[in-house]
Subunit: 229 residues, 2 copies
Amino acid sequence: MKRRDFLIAGGLTFAAATLSPSLFASQQQPLKILALVFDDYETLDLHGPIEMLGHMQNVQIKLIGASPTVRSYQGPRVVTDYQLDDVVDCDLLLVPGGLGTRTLINDEALLTWLRRQASVSKKVFSVCTGSALLAKAGLLDGVSATTNKMAFSWVTSLSQQALWQPSARWVDDGRFLTSSGVSAGTDAALFYVRQRRGEAEARRIERLTEYQWNSDAANDPYAVEPMTP
Amino acid sequence: MKRRDFLIAGGLTFAAATLSPSLFASQQQPLKILALVFDDYETLDLHGPIEMLGHMQNVQIKLIGASPTVRSYQGPRVVTDYQLDDVVDCDLLLVPGGLGTRTLINDEALLTWLRRQASVSKKVFSVCTGSALLAKAGLLDGVSATTNKMAFSWVTSLSQQALWQPSARWVDDGRFLTSSGVSAGTDAALFYVRQRRGEAEARRIERLTEYQWNSDAANDPYAVEPMTP
């Protein structure tokens, strides 16, 4: 596997460094966000967070997948920036869910990549059934986490070691941020903005996008009953 | 310009017709949704509606743009299914907004295509500053409409003939459905689901996506002051 750096791959940033090294040197490194995509990923799981994260200043968002283009469950296709033989240093690894996860949990190459990629990602953020992939890879062992409430029994069956939360819009457990289903990822993304850049920045992006942020992780309108042991 | 039909372009549907004509003949035509994309389109303007519309039964969603791939304002790229020399019969033409509209309003070829495409679209649905393109093309003359409330004075300056609404999450004026900024498009898309397929279907999709639908067009948390004449 190759290990690459966003600064080398990012043409614009590289050009900026070439043209104006002093300016470049004085700037902060961009926040590097990498999102896994796969056929039958759920559209909003990916693009809701990208909307909110992409409005932060000095951020780069790249997609990684098994093929040059990848089709969402809803039909439209996205272009990948990296292939799955790459492992990319990043600040945030975004793992969306969707129907495609039902087969991907049995893809050993994908799970091996996911473990390696997670190890070079400062934080891992799953939306919806993206947590199924993390659970199957063993990454959520001992981690407090949540998932899609419509698929709660399936996802939670994939790891007895994860500390599954039946009532949470999202759960932040340090290195792992896991959200509930689909739309919850957008709310959790704004939580990440708040964590990284402060409340004012999160509220600026909420207004800019005319969004109505469910900003309280404990406010879960789709909570399920706690599991009996 | 070429005029194409989704059934010919849609390989899967065509294959189904070939393999099983009697089954195919007994099925309803799919609901055909076409979405315009352009560089610096706003991610959620496009993908929020695609999420909700794409969960209806028997629907096809295709993208049309000036080049084979198109980059969002947030960075990631989508693949177009049609090029802008095509005019495609459809049930719904989705026109997102975003920073790209600031230059596109001066693109005469785009505006000409938009007028032709609108004429073969049963309904036209703009999100955010997508309404700037409709307004500049003259399509909103005499039409009750709304737009992004953060860019309200700019968009409304593009048409004195449109009947601009300063307080509305979205406005449905028959052939034209126009929403407020970014996130409002997702709410308006569920309104379209309700209009086409009924309340129960809209609520099913809301639950499936763990969404909290602002289902009342009059509930506009970002309303602006009415303009003085």
